[in-house]
């Protein structure tokens, strides 16, 4: 592979205004919700996004923000915080040709994963939620992977497989017919 593109704007030097705007909104929202530490979390998010990209920015923002709520966080605040972070995610897809579908995927997956995490953590325990969440993400990723294989015809049909494929394993290469 001669060139490895990174579609992530933060790491390829392309700084879309939409994401920068979303980060500004995020910083302001976190400052309002959590005070100076929230502003620091917003700045940390923006700096990490600039250097490493969106997922690392999300992680950095949440880690700093966790320090801002030592006594835990209420549902409303939690929803507002996550909504601000979702805006950053949405801003990354706003310039794609299929913005609507991408936005739906972002919103649906974010609601599913974050909502499941919160509900399970609230009703059961954090460690069960921490086990459930990666499982849910893995299942969704695998489902998309299978969908892609079927959609692009990369799964061999049963009819395409010769019935004696296993029996004739020692036969000559099919590319060489003498």
């Amino acid at each position: 592979m001669s060139a490895t593109p990174t579609a992530d704007p933060a790491t390829r030097g392309d700084r879309p205004r939409s994401t920068i705007g979303a980060l500004a909104v995020l910083t302001a929202a976190l400052a309002l919700l959590a005070g100076p530490i929230g502003a620091v979390a917003g700045l940390a998010t923006a700096l990490t996004w600039y250097g490493l990209g969106t997922p690392y920015a999300l992680a950095a923002g949440h880690v700093v923000l966790a320090a801002a709520f030592p006594e835990g966080i209420g549902l409303e605040t939690f929803l507002l915080v996550e909504l601000a972070f979702v805006a950053v995610l949405l801003a990354a897809v706003v310039r794609t040709p299929t913005v609507l579908r991408d936005a739906v995927v972002v919103l649906a997956s974010a609601i599913a994963f974050v909502g499941t995490g919160w509900i399970v953590a609230d009703s059961r325990s954090v460690w069960i939620a921490a086990g459930t969440l990666p499982l849910l993400v893995a299942l969704a990723a695998y489902a998309l992977h299978r969908y892609e294989l079927v959609s692009l015809g990369l799964v061999p049909d049963a009819a395409d497989t010769p019935p004696d494929a296993n029996v004739d394993a020692d036969a000559d290469s099919p590319t060489h017919e003498q």
């Binding site: 709520f69 921490a130 993400v137 959609s151």
Partner: protein, 490 residues
């Protein structure tokens, strides 16, 4: 789609956030893990959409310059890719060269997000004969986080044919003979097992020849005659001098003659005829086996024929010599005037003192000197030695080319002596020279010269002369001759 290390790192980041959430009992960090998971799924979805569009817009073609090649030949193979619109993915395309093909450089392309078309050509060698089908080119696309490989594009087939004689023509003047060698009848009655006829007993017939059943049936003594059985002693004389190396690799005159000699020996063996072999190199006889019917002898003949290689010409001026001989010999060829003729003519002049005889005498004397050259010819010497003993009923089969016509005539005359039959299998040099058909008209003229020689030989009693050559090249030469004949008639 397969994740790259970068995506695994992001997944590990989500797992880290979940782990920290458990350790610190902060559900907020689970929100971070959930959003990172959302980012992963969104990335997957976008990669899938982009890949689908890229595959739809991508046209890949791989093609070989020729669909039919000979073993060991090198053929350019081209791989080209064109995108209807540039893709944000990096696309690498690997050609599907068959396993049996060998290329110095890899047949691969890459399309980065700024290019929409590219082409690459590499020289591919085909060392193995057979039908080789290309695999579809493999396209690997990546966005840095995910990677997918799909097969896409054309998959041509290249047929590689082995070098060596394929369609061997054995015939006369371009006409193929149906049987050059086969069952032979003695043409006379004698002892045997095939009944031929019944005849009445005649005084002198021995009593054991009386067919008692026929005698009882016909009331008078009758004798049954049988077809006489013979064994045709066959001697193959195969010329493998330097001149027989003419031709493309593995398609030389010797290669073609070898195939015919092998078939002839196999036929003689099948019929139970004693078969022997002499091989003649530039220095003289290189192998000698007198006619015999044993399987061991047949195996030796077969092995020797298969191992036969052209010898080196000691004169070290083979090409020049052959060319000059070719130019020098047509008068001899057309006249058929040989050393024996010269000597007969000189003796016929007697001791006449007239000016005519005096003028001719030195000419015939010079011609006789030419006989010495013929006697030093290895092929002639081989035949002379082979026919020095009891040669009655010996069928001599000569495998040679037309590069020494005068010597060949003398050799055939010698071989047909003592009432023996001779089969001459001649390779026309013009049909073997790699650039022999560059000028088809000249090739046709040279083939006509060869045909004159062959007919001269075939006109001799008990001599059969056949040509051995590649069918396709002979057809090319003859079609030119026919076209020329039509043009002259018009």
């Amino acid at each position: 789609m397969k994740p790259t290390r970068r995506l695994w790192a992001v997944a590990a980041l989500a797992a880290f956030l979940a782990g920290v959430a458990v350790v610190t009992a902060r559900p907020l960090l689970l929100g971070g893990a959930g959003l990172v998971g959302s980012w992963i799924v969104t990335r997957q979805y976008r990669f899938y959409r982009t890949l689908e569009e890229t595959v739809d817009a991508l046209a890949i073609e791989q093609s070989a310059a020729r669909a039919g090649v000979r073993t060991g030949e090198t053929v350019p193979v081209t791989l080209s890719a064109r995108l209807a619109a540039p893709s944000p993915l990096a696309v690498a395309i690997e050609g599907g060269l068959p396993t049996a093909a060998a290329a110095d450089d890899s047949l691969s392309l890459s399309l980065d997000p700024t290019t929409s078309a590219t082409t690459r050509t590499v020289d591919v060698t085909w060392p193995t004969a057979g039908h080789h089908r290309f695999d579809e080119p493999t396209v690997t696309a990546t966005d840095g986080f995910l990677r997918e490989t799909v097969s896409l594009g054309t998959a041509p087939t290249v047929t590689v044919e082995p070098r060596g004689p394929r369609t061997i023509h054995v015939g006369e003047g371009g006409d193929r003979i149906t049987m050059a060698y086969g069952e032979h009848e003695a043409g006379r009655l004698g002892s045997g097992i095939e009944p031929a006829e019944l005849r009445e007993y005649m005084p002198g017939d021995t009593a054991d020849r009386i067919d008692w059943k026929a005698t009882a049936r016909l009331s008078t003594p009758h004798v049954r005659e049988y077809e006489a059985e013979t064994d045709r002693r066959t001697l193959l004389i195969v010329d493998h001098r330097a001149s027989l190396a003419t031709g493309r690799p593995d398609e030389t005159e010797l290669d073609y003659l070898r195939e015919v000699a092998l078939a002839t020996a196999a036929s003689a063996h099948r019929l139970g005829d004693p078969v022997g072999l002499r091989t003649v190199g530039d220095e003289g006889i290189t192998f000698r086996l007198d006619p015999t019917t044993t399987p061991v002898a047949y195996d030796r003949i077969r092995r020797r024929l298969l191992d036969l290689e052209p010898t080196a010409d000691p004169s070290a001026a083979d090409e020049i010599g052959r060319e000059s001989r070719r130019r020098r010999t047509p008068p001899l060829r057309s006249s058929g005037f040989t050393a024996a003729d010269a000597r007969a003519k000189r003796i016929g002049l007697g001791d006449d003192d007239d000016r005519f005889a005096a003028t001719l005498r030195p000419f015939y004397a010079a011609r006789e000197g030419y006989r010495e050259r013929i006697e030093s010819d290895p092929l002639y010497g081989t035949v002379r030695r082979a026919h020095s003993g009891n040669t009655e009923g010996l069928w001599t089969i000569l495998f040679t080319d037309d590069s020494r016509p005068a010597e060949l005539r003398e050799t055939v005359k010698l071989a047909r002596g003592n009432g023996n039959s001779v089969l001459v299998l001649l390779a026309p040099t013009v049909l073997y020279e790699p650039d022999g058909l560059a000028d088809v008209e000249d090739a046709y003229d040279r083939y006509v010269e060869f045909e004159d020689l062959r007919r001269d030989l075939a006109r001799m009693s008990r001599v059969t002369a056949l040509e051995v050559g590649p069918q396709d090249r002979l057809s090319t030469v003859l079609s030119d001759g026919r076209a020329r004949a039509r043009g002259e008639r018009a």
